[in-house]
Symmetry: C2
Subunit: 384 residues, 2 copies
């Protein structure tokens, strides 16, 4: 966070002096680390991704060999756009690709959520980058508290929002982060119809870890009802295990996608390099691997939840590749205590000090079976 005395920074634009940048989960350089803090996939990307990249560097194919790194990539990632459009059965014009879903979100805030002094609504406990984007682009926002059960209360807090004229956009992750809870798709549909004149953005970074990732996705609404105001954001960093390659995308009506492209082409024309583009295409084309690993993560999650319950933890029902959990005796076993104890065993989990009511929760990424067994073993020692 911003701890400088920025009043001395005479060369800085005024806006920058007010920023409190996002703080990503740490990426420590420790061998044998059990890294359960940034929601990466415990499994490698599809072997076909790796083979595609190897081929690029080993083959003498004139269109794909390494010599071509000297040339700019396709600025619009056109082949990847087409691959995703075919995969999701939408038009090419309904897909926008960016440098990770963070960049896609940034363009969405800029291009679709800045309506004079109107407010963007999102939950108080949610992806902590949302208020940062609002600061960055000077967008008004209102953080709406989750219920005491950590639910996004769409019916009461959004559909029955008193001053709808003041709302310039609504965004939340589904499933939400860091809670992992899903919002019912019927409620998302009601948002699209109740707020027909403002953008509704559903951040589906984790949707593939819902057991039914098709009917729970807002994509089903987009395809059936073609809501003009609905934008869905996805990432290759979680279910496709490509966080290291920075690929995200949005799906929506072509009018919304055009706005994102205007923004992108006024900021950085070529956000995806050549290797990321071919890696992403290869990943989408390996559906079997994707489904297998998705199911494996879901099964490990079920097992982890059962084991944590045996250790007297409360776990919010998760449709993501992480769980949000606290010990029931959180006076004795506070979040901070547990996080620090786990670190002694090189097990790293994430925790948020703010707001106060989540400080005792650990956000634990679903690792592989061995990592989760080790986590349970060490937690049993700690709380046993």
């Amino acid at each position: 966070m911003n701890t400088n005395n920025n009043s001395d920074n005479k060369f800085w634009s005024d806006n920058v002096k007010k920023l409190s940048p996002y703080v990503p989960g740490e990426q420590p350089k420790i061998n044998n680390l059990v890294k359960l803090n940034t929601n990466e996939n415990p499994f490698a990307p599809s072997p076909k991704v790796l083979q595609t990249i190897k081929d690029y560097f080993l083959q003498n194919n004139e269109n794909t060999n390494a010599e071509f790194l000297r040339l700019y990539p396709n600025p619009d990632s056109s082949e990847l756009v087409e691959t995703l459009a075919n995969y999701h059965n939408v038009e090419n014009s309904q897909i926008f690709v960016g440098n990770g879903s963070d960049e896609v979100l940034a363009f969405a805030f800029y291009a679709l959520l800045n309506h004079n002094n109107k407010k963007v609504l999102f939950p108080d406990i949610s992806y902590s980058f949302y208020p940062v984007y609002c600061q960055f682009f000077n967008i008004n926002f209102q953080q709406i508290p989750l219920t005491t059960n950590f639910e996004i209360d769409v019916a009461n807090d959004y559909l029955n929002y008193k001053n709808k004229d003041e709302v310039g956009g609504i965004i939340f992750p589904n499933p939400n982060a860091p809670t992992g809870l899903l919002v019912n798709i019927n409620l998302i549909e009601k948002l699209c119809t109740t707020y027909a004149n403002i953008p509704i953005i559903i951040d589906e970074a984790y949707i593939d870890f819902a057991e039914d990732n098709i009917s729970n996705s807002a994509l089903s609404l987009l395809k059936l009802k073609q809501y003009k105001n609905l934008l869905i954001i996805r990432t290759f960093s979680k279910s496709r295990a490509l966080a290291g390659m920075r690929i995200g995308y949005a799906i929506g009506d072509s009018n919304l996608i055009t706005a994102l492209n205007y923004a992108k082409n006024s900021f950085n024309s070529y956000p995806l390099d050549r290797i990321s583009q071919i890696a992403a295409i290869a990943s989408v084309n390996d559906e079997n691997y994707f489904q297998n690993k998705r199911n494996e993560v879901i099964n490990i999650r079920k097992n982890l939840v059962l084991n944590l319950q045996k250790l007297n933890f409360t776990i919010i029902p998760s449709a993501a590749n992480f769980i949000f959990a606290k010990h029931n005796n959180d006076n004795k076993f506070s979040g901070e205590f547990l996080q620090n104890e786990l670190r002694k065993y090189n097990i790293i989990v994430r925790r948020f000090n703010s707001p106060e009511r989540i400080k005792n929760y650990l956000r634990i990424t679903i690792g592989d079976a061995q990592q989760c067994d080790l986590l349970i073993e060490k937690l049993a020692e700690i709380v046993g």
Copy 2:
């Protein structure tokens, strides 16, 4: 450019409706294309870059093998920052790395050039992305005409600018694009001292193609005099032949670099993927290859200029990997005519319709010797 009737776009933020996005040079998919339109390097990147990437995918080194694409990259590209700091003999805190110099420029406009209603000054004929960034971030600007010789007249137009209080920043490429002309380093120093309270940004995308790329670079000023307001922007896309991998950086006082990091971390934490980071490091570590190819491009340029002069072309003296040239009989051989004729031979060069006085100039990227010979052969036929 923006040709939609954007008044219908009710979901768009107001700002987006006003944008006229940058239009990158085309990347046609034609075999045997002589592609002299986007200032890419005619030579491949260093073989050590390619070897480093191959090793990443072929070796079973636990820190670098392909399995690790599942993990987020280092958000600050720390090893690359350190490599560049060592290479340029500055502190790590003086280097900022981004997704191509376009992204670095975007953050520089946001973080350093937006001072209330003050104006950013840059040349009218220059990198055409500058006014786009200003539109994107709502920054006032004034485009100052080049002289009739296409020079940036620093002494008259900038140092003697009447209302210095209205100036919030100055930026230009050195050498300038699309002219290729260098500004004398002493004049850049005078800008730093005359405008000691505002940022001076020198965009050195092409500086390595100056015959003396050390003493002509503002880096010499930064190191000798440590001007607090001087920021230098560089790219791996030109002299390092890595346009396909999207790597740019800035060098300046750590206070300016901190501002860029605040902006980056409020927009997209991880702009460089894992492969780009290792590719860039390998490139910097192969100094011999870099110097050899730099000199080869300079020599081909000299030869191309001589041959074009024989064909009755005027060529602006270039310190870049492109030349800006027009035929002396431009009534008969207009820029548009020449561009279209060359395209019939699959030779693509770039041209700008605006401002009017450059419409007959072709911006020709320095290709390899064979490509430049072919260009001369075909131009001889066309104008012969």
